[in-house]
Amino acid sequence: MTDWTSHDLVAIAAAITDGQVSSVAITEACLARIEAWQPHLNAFIRIDRAAALATAHERDRERAAGRLRGPLHGVPLAHKDMFYRRGRISTGGSAIRRDWIADRTATVIERLDAAGAIDLGTLNMAEFAAGPTGHNIHFGDCCNPWDPARVTGGSSSGSGASVAARLVFGALGSDTGGSIRMPAAICGVVGMKPTYGRVSRFGALPRSWSLDHVGPLTRSVADNARLLSIIAGADAQDSTASAHDVPDYEAALGRAMAGLRLGWPASLDGIDAGTLSALQQARGALERLGVRIVDVRLPELTPLFDTAETIIKCEAAAMHRPWLESRPQDYSNQVRWRMEAGFLIPATQYIDALRLRTHHTEAFLATTMDGIDALLLPTMPFATPTRAETDVERQPGATALAILARFSRFTRPFNLLGLPALSLPCGFDGNGLPIGMQLVGRPFSEALLYAIGHAYQQVTDHHRQAPSLVPGITRP
């Protein structure tokens, strides 16, 4: 009997379209798998079983009548619980919005619906998208499907875990400092943080308007290309959504690698030996595909990090002010702590940080990116830690805080710069947890990043590895 949940999104979409399998059968298979894994992972905040099956029946009727909605017809997805759907609760992973019913539908959700996708429910996340680990005191921590004692990465924790565990065929996440890429790397899936403005943010709970990016997490680069092609593009409801043409990302996957120039940092401080080894092997695989490796120099990342932090804290403080005044006790400590500095930074510093964003980006493109097509970096600097050692809420201390501070070292700078960054699996660490590599490109070069990532996935099989459910083991 075929295990349809082991297929990737593109294959399942074709199987449904061709009539090999019904959307109802696929949806039921996903729901059964979710039921088995949920006690271990806590990847879902809400499972919309009845609605998903009703939609699946409708998709099957449509298909039988020769009416296909689009390239995701009948394909089950789920999304981080921050993408609003009118009339449905959207918690944002928070106590404050535990019962809040959305008054609008996110543009990205409308586009996925129009393409025919099924929505299985809402996925766990860090509270208000503010946390790099996946801890959540309101809905319970999300756990890594490779080892439930370890973090999933965040804040799109449920998105990373559910895609990795083959519960869904793809998921949306958001990324303000690494929140798509970190869970993608840690859970062993593909995550794209597109160029700032590539994807509409309308109807997505904000973390920081200037640095928020919306993007997909999937099992493969090809899957990711399909989802981005559907959600990208201008949106009259989001003035920051770019009108830049959306290319056919899937058609561009077969681009030849010969002659492409990939930047390799001359020094990569602060990454552990296992991560460096995996990255070096990835570099070798890409060289064998014909990619030319060019030594480049990264700028000091700390100024970029601090400029991004200034912007995030000020914007988050402004947007949360009413609740922080009226119900501060309903925030977790670590989410409240991360915003408080925003109330104390002078407005002129915030504005200067925004002005500096242009200078930092120009300088990066003119120096580090000069003469190369893309840049190869690690996504995470170290092996995946445990949930216990990074639980700053329950065990605040210098060690946990020090680990958290290093999480987004290689991701947050690219939120400031707004450049597209793709994380994909490139190996496993000594504990058997996935390692991710990051490809960074020029503005709106997602197609190129996808082409490189797809070529790499044709000669490697890290992305085909999936975690196994261990009977009798529930999340600690």
Partner: protein
Amino acid sequence: MKDRATLIADIASDLQGIRLPPARATDLAAEVSRLNDAVRAATGQLSFDDDPAAYAALLAKASSS
């Protein structure tokens, strides 16, 4: 002259209506100083006409396709 933590606590209270415990005020004073200093250190490269909205135009201009 007030120490930095006291200053931060007073600003939080008087200007933002936020009451900070002393230990928290100390931590925030260090954090705000670090971020403040980072931005101020870089502002030498800013000119009078640098507009925050220039960033979107830069992305569009710098695209490779």
